[in-house]
Amino acid sequence: MSALLQNMMPTAEIDDLLAREHEGHLATKNPDGTPYIVTLNYRIIDDMVVLHCAKEGQKIDNIKNDEHVCFSVSSGDRCVIIRGRARFVEDFAEKSRLLYIFTEIFMDGQQFSLSEQGINRTCVLAIDIEEKTGVLF
């Protein structure tokens, strides 16, 4: 058995870690093929990694150029690495739904509202997961 396989996490543990944590690292590819990485809040919603950010920036440009991304979440001696394709959620109703679910974890059950203007100026990214691997270090 290879060292990698010995250190693999069971699927249930992977899903538990992804549900528990809120902070991950998104890697995209620059036009010249070099990697770019940023830290972002995330949530797993409907088996997708959901991210939100400003509508401009290097990661946005990179994803428009190449949708293939890598996303990583670390917790203690465990790390989950996801590969998939990122897409921009453009539909207003879907964006609103995802943003409400995204923010509710921080609200402790309190009611809140997101303005239409706020939703429109926010970029929502969804990563359709193609592969996820959990590794123990």
Binding site: K29, G33, V38, T39, C70, S72, S74, F137
Partner: protein, 132 residues
Amino acid sequence: MESRPVRRKDRVMPQADIERFLSENDVCHAAVTSVDGVLQIVPLHYTYDGAKFILSSQNEACLAACAEAAAVTLDISVMYYVSGRDRTPCKNITSKYRSVLAFGEICLCDEQLTFMPAYMTGKSNIKGDEWI
């Protein structure tokens, strides 16, 4: 060491803060691209001497991913949450983080033992000869 331009110029960290931030932390996430163009993220311990990062992992898969890469981007980040009484998303409740990105080239060090004493100097997570 030159800095790359960033979109939010109001949030640029002064060079002295960057150096202090890097010395206060010891874990980074390295993004590398394999020879067939597949992106990989690898969490690694690091030490920084002002000019280069020395990276370490006991995980063979991590080292293998780094071994076949050339360009690397390191992300060293600390995230924290801010919340006020009025919990309006993105206003009174938000997450903030400090992050340093380092762009460069990665290579495997053939003389690991030469580097290890320097690597371990000042590491808070080392006790005796053992990693914890």
